[in-house]
Every structure is written in C-alpha cells, then in structure tokens.
Symmetry: C2
Subunit: 413 residues, 2 copies
C-alpha cells in the first residue's frame, strides 16, 4: 500500500485541523502505510519540509488537534504557474513529481479555499498529462463560505458562531447607556461574499434586536443611502444605539472610496485587500450626523477563535477530511470533496465530490433570495445559517486557557 500526503493552504480557520485529522484517521483505517504532512503548503513541500503524521499524531493529542485553530502544518499563498509544456513552467511540477515519487505517494490532499483549488486543478491536470496515476484531491476550507458546489465550507460555521456571539454581546454593550444616540459599525471578513456578515443576524435568535442594518458585499451600496438609513434608525429604533454589520469587501461608491487606497494592498493572488470600510463609514457618520460613532473590525479574531468553535463545523470538517481520503482510495483525481445539505430542520448532510474545475478561482456569492431589502437578510438565509453554528465542543483547558497542539519541527523527516 502506498502513502498519503496532506497539506494546508490559504487563510486560517478553526476547522482546517479537523479535516487534517479526518484525512489522517481515514488513511490509517483504509490501510495506507504512511501519512505525511507538508509544512507551509506547497511552499514547504518544495523545500522538503515534510513530517510523518503517524509519529506526530499520537492518540492522546488528536483531540488537541481538533481544538487548535489556524493551520497546524502551516500554510502558504503560493500560486502555481499553469503547466504549458515549456521548460520554464515545468520545473516546479517536476520537483513535486519527484517528491511524490520519493515518498511513494498515492494521493495528495490539499485543504484550502478557491485559490488552493486552483492548485488542485493545475496539479491534477499536469499529472494526467504525464500519465502519472497520483491522485490530487481538494478539501474545502474557508471562513468566507464562497466555494461553489458545496453547500457550505468547513471553517465557516465556527466563524459564523464567533460573529453571531460577538454581535449578541456587542449589542448588550452598545445599549447600556439607554437612549443615547450612538452608532457602532462592525466590519466582518469576506472580500467578495457577504456570508459571514449575514451571520451577524443570528444574534437575533437569542433576543438581540440588532444588527439594525446588515450590508453584504453582494448588494449595491451607496454612502448617501447608508447615512439616510442610519438617521432613520437613530430616530425610530427601540433604543438609540444603532448596530451595523458591514462586509469587509463592501464597494463604497463615493468620494470616500478614494481614501480607501491607503489601506489596500494586493496579495500574491491579486485580490485587493479592502480593509477599513467600517472606519471610512465611521468618518462619514461623524461628519454628516455627528453623534457618537465607533467602528470595530473583528479582524483575525473571527477566523482563529477556536474557543467558540461550532461542534457541527468541526465534526463536518473531520468527515470531509475522511471523505477526501476515501476519494483517493476510489481512484478519483482533480475533484474536491463536498457537503450536500439534505434538510435544514432536522439538519442533515451527506458528503460528495465535484470536479475541481467548478470551484477553482470562482466565488460563490449569496443568492438574491437570501436578502430582505438593501440592508437585511431573509428568513431563507437564517434557515441556512442556523444549523451551522450548533453544538459546543468540549475544549480542554490548562491555566484557564485553551490547550493547543504545537508542531515539533524535530519531526521533519
């Protein structure tokens, strides 16, 4: 029996290590001899930073892996040039093929988002082209929930739970001074899609009246209409504390947008990083309305807050990891494991797969029927989101803080 190699890529989530564990355990179960992990995704793989997970993941620390946020093996944002037959584009592929051969790899699992699925697509195409039977499988992961062909993405449910809990708690804080007019604008991650911003509405399940306004990146946005809505809420909301959720990726069509460039930078995948939307809107409210206004960025906390993980999310992440190993065993390549929802209530899913071409480099936006007007989400969105945040994993603490598993670099082979 040959071996399996697993790597993690893209932005951290709190569920990506559960997928690693699931893939690892299924490989043991199915009789693969060794399970290797590549550190820092493709980048570490090319440097030979590889660990033997059979040694790293002893029984006692598997539970700790599930409660460890971010990528246990490390991550990267490396983009592969497409293989076009020329020597220039071939060298990286040759290196990877050589490593796979040396390690006797039957399947390579890449856990990541839509950029990582681009890597899965290119690698599987290359290996098919050279008639090499190694299997390349994608495992979805992103707090943005913007991958096509899967009902939702592992990592999203826990981030959604963090966002909903934060809004629930923030509303308590913002309403504490009674009828004092205040505006609190909270920026939620999501460059291209508003799924995570929409999850702020889940706070209403437990008695929050807010967020009063929810702006997702899918919707048209104008600063002028935003200010009119804020004024309306300040006048007519049950208390004068207006709580607003805004997507990081909101397209601000206004002169204010000019100021945005000093915040932005471009990563290796040429996505503009649109931080600072909430701060810009804070300044607009301050200038136009003049009441007390505060902007809050949930920032990295929303993607690494493992102490608030959703048990549903972690369990599904583990199962989709198992599914990916199964797909290797079944002889598939160039596919991504998927979650199919069978029912909202009672919530029920099963696991499938899809040609990774349908996923790579594409962004699944929220559909129109998940919105209710320009600044709210619909009942359909609530029914979709609610099951994903359920369940509280038992988290082992030490010194009053969560215990995490750390990768000992001495395990690099």
């Amino acid at each position: 029996m040959k071996n399996i190699l697993i790597a993690q890529s893209g932005g951290p989530t709190v569920a990506i290590n559960s997928s690693l564990l699931g893939a690892f355990e299924a490989a043991k179960e199915l009789g693969f001899e060794k399970v290797y992990g590549a550190c820092f995704g493709l980048s570490g793989l090319l440097k030979g930073e590889i660990v033997n997970l059979n040694e790293v993941l002893s029984g006692s620390n598997r539970q700790l892996l599930m409660q460890t946020p971010s990528c246990f093996l490390g991550s990267c944002r490396k983009k592969l040039l497409p293989f076009d037959g020329t020597e220039k584009t071939q060298s990286t592929y040759l290196e990877i093929a050589q490593i796979f051969k040396t390690l006797n790899i039957e399947g390579f699992l890449y856990i990541g988002g839509n950029d990582s699925m681009d890597t899965v697509s290119k690698l599987s195409t290359y290996f098919k082209t050279i008639n090499n039977k190694v299997k390349i499988i994608g495992v979805p992961k992103t707090i943005d929930n913007d991958l096509f062909a899967t009902d939702h993405c592992p990592g999203f449910g826990s981030a959604a739970k963090f966002v909903a809990t934060a809004f629930l708690e923030l509303e308590r804080d913002c309403t504490v001074y009674g009828n004092k007019p205040t505006v609190t604008i909270v920026e939620v991650m999501g460059r291209d899609a508003g799924w995570l911003t929409a999850a702020s509405a889940l706070a209403r399940l437990n008695g929050a009246t807010g967020p009063n306004l929810i702006y997702c990146s899918e919707q048209n946005f104008s600063v002028e209409e935003f200010l009119t809505s804020i004024e309306h809420e300040l006048k007519f909301s049950s208390n004068k504390a207006v709580l607003v959720a805004v997507s990081e990726g909101l397209k601000i069509e206004s002169k204010a947008a000019e100021a945005k460039t000093d915040q932005g930078w471009f990563d290796e995948f040429c996505h503009a990083r649109n931080a600072g939307v909430a701060k810009l809107l804070e300044k607009a409210v301050c200038a136009k309305i003049g009441c007390k206004v505060r902007s809050i960025e949930l920032s990295l906390l929303q993607r690494c807050g493992a102490h608030l993980a959703s048990a549903t999310d972690l369990n599904e992440a583990k199962k989709i990891g198992e599914q990916a190993t199964n797909l290797v065993k079944e002889g598939l390549t160039g596919v991504m494991a998927t979650i199919n929802r069978k029912s909202d209530e009672p919530y029920s899913v099963d696991f499938g797969f899809v040609d990774v071409e349908q996923v790579a480099n594409r962004v699944k936006k929220m559909p129109a029927d998940m919105f209710n007007g320009p600044a709210d989400v619909s009942k359909k969105a609530m029914a979709y989101l609610k099951p994903l945040i359920q369940g509280d994993p038992d988290i082992e603490l030490e010194n009053g803080l969560p215990k995490h598993l750390h990768l000992n670099k001495n395990y690099i082979i």
Copy 2:
C-alpha cells in the same frame, strides 16, 4: 426592615451583573424587605426608572444574570456636582434624598469604577452633612483594574482571560505562513493603566512565544525605540511573525502623536479617549520597515465577552456584592467593598472595605516591579495575573449562542 437600592455605572464588564446578584441575594438573606434597582445609574434614578428586583429576579433567571454581560440595569456616565451648600448644587441631592425617602431606602449600592466612587463619595458626604442615616456603599468594577485599595477589580479577570485567549489564538494565526516577516500590533483597553495589556503575557502559559513586545501605559514610550525593537524581533525571533501588545493609553512621544487628535474625544469626565495607538504604530512600521503589518483593536469585545468569563472573577464579583450589602447592615457609609489577596498559590482572598476617598478619581497604575525592561512584564506580574483568569463557568446556550437575561421595562414601578 427598610429597603436596598442598587445601581450600575461606568463602562460595562462581564462581572457587574454578578455583583448585582450577590448584593440582591445577600439583601434577601439579611431580611431587607425590598431590593430596588435603578436603571441607567444616577441618570435613571433621577428619572424614577426603578424596578423591584424581587419581581425581576426570579430564581430561574439568576443563573442567566450571571452569564449576561454589560450592565443588566443599564449604566450612565453622569457626574455629580459637589454639594457646596448653595441652592444650585443642592437640587440634585434633594431629589435623590426624596427618592430614597419615598422608597424607604436604608442602603444605596453603586457598582462602578473610579468615577462612580466619586459619586459614592459625594453622596455619602452629603447625607452625613444633612445628618441622614442612609448608607452609601461602593462596589468596585472595571476591566481596567485601576482602583486603589482593592487587590484587583471584578470584571478585570474575565477581560484578562479574553485578552490572553485572543493573544494565544492570534499567535497561531500570525505564525501560519512560516518565516514571512509580519508585524501584528494589538491594542488593548486601559486609558491610564496597563493591567489588561499585561494580561496578554498569560498566553505564554499555554505555549505561545508571544507577545514579543508588551507596551503598557505606565512605561516611557518612544516610537523610535519601538521601531528598533521591532527590527530586532524581526531579525532574531524564532519565527518572523512579531506580535505586539500595546495599551490604548500609550503616550506616543513623536510627531505621530499629532495625528492622534483626529481619533480623540472627551467624555463627560474629561478623560481623553486615546483610540488609535495601534493604527498609528502600524503606519510607523509600514513607513520605516515596510514589511506586512496589521493593527487590531480588541475594542468592546474585550469588555463584553461573557462567553469567555473567568469563573473566579464571576464568583468574586458575586461575593463582593454580598459584602456590600453586609456593609449596609453593619452601618457603614462612604466605603467601597474590597478584595484582599492572602496568597497567590494556592490563591486565596477575603473581602474588606475602605474609605471611598482613597479610591475616588484616582488611578492605580502597575508598580515598577511588575515590569521586566521596557517591553515586557515580570514574573511577579504573571503570579498576580494568573489566578484571576481561572475557571470556566457553565454557560447555558440556546440556538448555539449564549443566553442572556433581558430587563423587561414593564417592571419599572
């Protein structure tokens, strides 16, 4: 038997409602007939927004009160003019005296920080002056931990646990790309004292190597030395991901400070609000060093994150509320209930009281021996902080989110 009146004031914490519960339960225990709560602190009291807590706090919802963040009764930042015998300054005091008389109040408990202790001081002085026997007692509460005469302040331990957990999780996120030079600057609350910023060091108890640098407001700070330290860490730290904790109230002695004014505003107590320190330092790193840099403000999340409360904190907050009611029964006035630490390990405290004059309008800064050089805390600080974040309260969830208790305004008498 006469009645007790309780109100909450100042900035929210996650423990202030536990003190309310403790004061309420002790009053029932000691045979006070009615326990009233004033909504929105002094402001609501003067408007007659008063509830009968015997009706509001039925047995089944007392546990929910303990897990509800922010001020259940609402808060205010109202400052009393000192009573100087003139008619102008007398009117508010007369109103309060009239309300106390109507409600047959024997003791008034005010749960708050150093501004609220100013109110306790002024009210108790007034009532002594007019020879009125009503007892005015302060109950400490602040995430800033900056009240004199008490070992620590209820609310601080839970905020410290939030901060330590956030740093633990953020380090996992920041180190995910291996040896890529990045700087992450996290701003922690604390206008005048660095206690909460110091708590970031607790992340090291569970394997974090960071924060690499910790800057508390007590220490001298220069942007130039800060940049030199960042460069040193980028060069010599075990990974190139530098994680920095900075106090909100850091005094930036640099031209950069000029930019700070556009963030600042003054509240009714004339404290400058120094938001934006991390953002300013981000810009400095970007300009001078040019690596990837990100600033994060923990903002309101750190003071309302009840899902991460410290059981030690909540239990002590409840006991200090009980203690305050006991002080009324013992006939004291113009005092604040205190926590006295008897031992760090095993951790042990008892409860006392102090003349509120020793607390009002003063700020307890971290002593010099809690620092280790210009950008770290000492072992003494760690020994002081560690017991305060221990214990995980059992939190009742519904819909995957914490349940909170909401005050029904129909209870206003």
